[in-house]
Symmetry: C2
DNA sequence: TAATTATATAACTATTAGCTTATATATTCA
DNA sequence: TGAATATATAAGCTAATAGTTATATAATTA
């Protein structure tokens, strides 16, 4: 078969991280477009440290990249990560979450990255 | 797109369940062939209640089916479950675990279901 | 340069999850 | 029917996880 294979251990770690609604939604969102911490705070209506801690876990596994743009730090799914091919088919089955960003856009609280 | 879609909430619950090495390996094994509790106990070298509790969680979500054959209860991935199409592509990326059953076969501890 | 804004991190707390031990139930077999 | 085998479940313990509060760092702006 042409299927890629991943060690069970690693797969379980990744799936556990994805098995959290906040992190899963984050990944789905930033598979398309970069988002900064303060946007996540508004989208998920939770505290900034909570968001940062979720992002930290995703970053530690290499699933996301961060990029500072001035005072903001933008996060984006790391498509070069060796496990991207594992998570991509999962993300593709999830409902699009872009409406969450559109809501920010309408409220004028979207941070447009240059 | 022709992609199936699943609610975020449900997806997160399923991924969390799959994010455990024991349960993930179980699912991969019984995607092909039925296994009974005592086989899992031997494969994972853990206690019977622990195995039963893992299976219980998978069963509660409808991911697996059980079928009694005499004194044994065999478990199998439920391919009729509405979320099977969600988990199948994940399982397909995992390395085949059948060698674990082959080991039982050699040791003579495989329970052959009629 | 001081105040403000964005983010990260550390410490603490509460909740959850997994395992163990003990026990109950169901089936088989002598 | 009584003993043995297979499985489930409940209760309790411990470890892991997620969130909160407090604080530190970095960049921006007045």
């Amino acid at each position: 078969m042409l299927q890629t294979t991943i060690e069970m251990e690693k797969a379980a770690v990744i799936l556990k991280l994805m098995g959290d609604k906040t992190r899963l939604t984050m990944l789905k969102l930033i598979d398309n477009q970069a988002c900064c911490v303060c946007e996540f705070v508004e989208i998920f209506q939770t505290s900034q440290p909570s968001i940062s801690q979720h992002l930290r876990k995703l970053k530690d596994l290499g699933l996301v990249n961060e990029e500072r743009k001035g005072q903001w730090i933008f996060y984006l799914v790391n498509k070069n990560n060796e496990y991207y091919s594992f998570i991509k088919p999962i993300l593709d089955q999830l409902p699009n979450q872009d409406y969450k960003l559109n809501e920010l856009e309408e409220k004028g609280t979207r941070i447009s990255c240059c």
